[in-house]
Symmetry: C2
Subunit: 110 residues, 2 copies
DNA sequence: TGAACACATGAATATTTTATCATATGTTCA
DNA sequence: TGAACATATGATAAAATATTCATGTGTTCA
């Protein structure tokens, strides 16, 4: 909103409104990764696409809970899906997911 | 727990218990980035260390809320602190924070 | 067509998380 | 020492989120 005078130069406020929106989007993105069910799903899909039943089996979780999280992951554009007969096949939307997870693992293992 | 036989090879369950713990740790890490207040603090500190009052001013948030989040960030080892007289100065613990944020930004801007 | 299967979804509940309020702790300096 | 300042913290209230349950929708196949 206002500006600060610092070292003789007018600099915009560190977190201007535009940056603030960007940071909120970032938080939204990380929030998606910040749930163990969702990250397990993402990790599960690294090995290739799977249908809902397979994912439920891998996570040992009930179908409804998994479907709800799949929906959230899809609306976040992290996964995509296609129908194959009775089944819906889910897959990672792009390589960013792998990169971000790898990044996090690296941090943890430091 | 059990193993699956796939393509003639015994492979451990995709999400074995050990991997499961690792994934939960990962979720914990991302959860920290997944809050707008915390990510604003982290972003604020990219420009250099700051005391609590400065951070509060930058975020336009009350001191108690900020302190609570600082505590969480510190317990997650993402920031460190030192005392300087009456003030406590906070700073990013390492470069991973910058990298992870950059990573996320890249994904968003795709 | 209708039964069986695979998945989605709305509502309710349970759980977790965040901000606020009041107050406590630690430091400086007159 | 004690007042003023900077920060931390416990408790509580408020908000957001996840899971469960019941049920709905879409597809296959006999």
């Amino acid at each position: 909103m206002s500006q600060k005078i610092y070292d003789g130069k007018a600099i915009s406020h560190l977190i201007s409104n535009v940056a603030e929106d960007e940071l909120c989007d970032l938080a939204e993105l990380f929030k998606v990764f910040g749930d163990s069910t969702r990250i397990k799903i993402l990790y599960d899909l690294i090995n290739g696409e799977k249908n809902v039943t397979e994912i439920c089996a891998d996570l040992e979780m009930n179908q409804s809970a998994v479907s709800h999280q799949l929906k959230l992951l899809k609306s976040s554009k992290l996964i995509g899906s296609r129908r194959a007969g009775k089944q819906i096949i889910y897959f990672l939307a792009d390589d960013h997911v792998k990169t971000i997870i790898a990044m996090g693992k690296e941090h943890i293992e430091e």
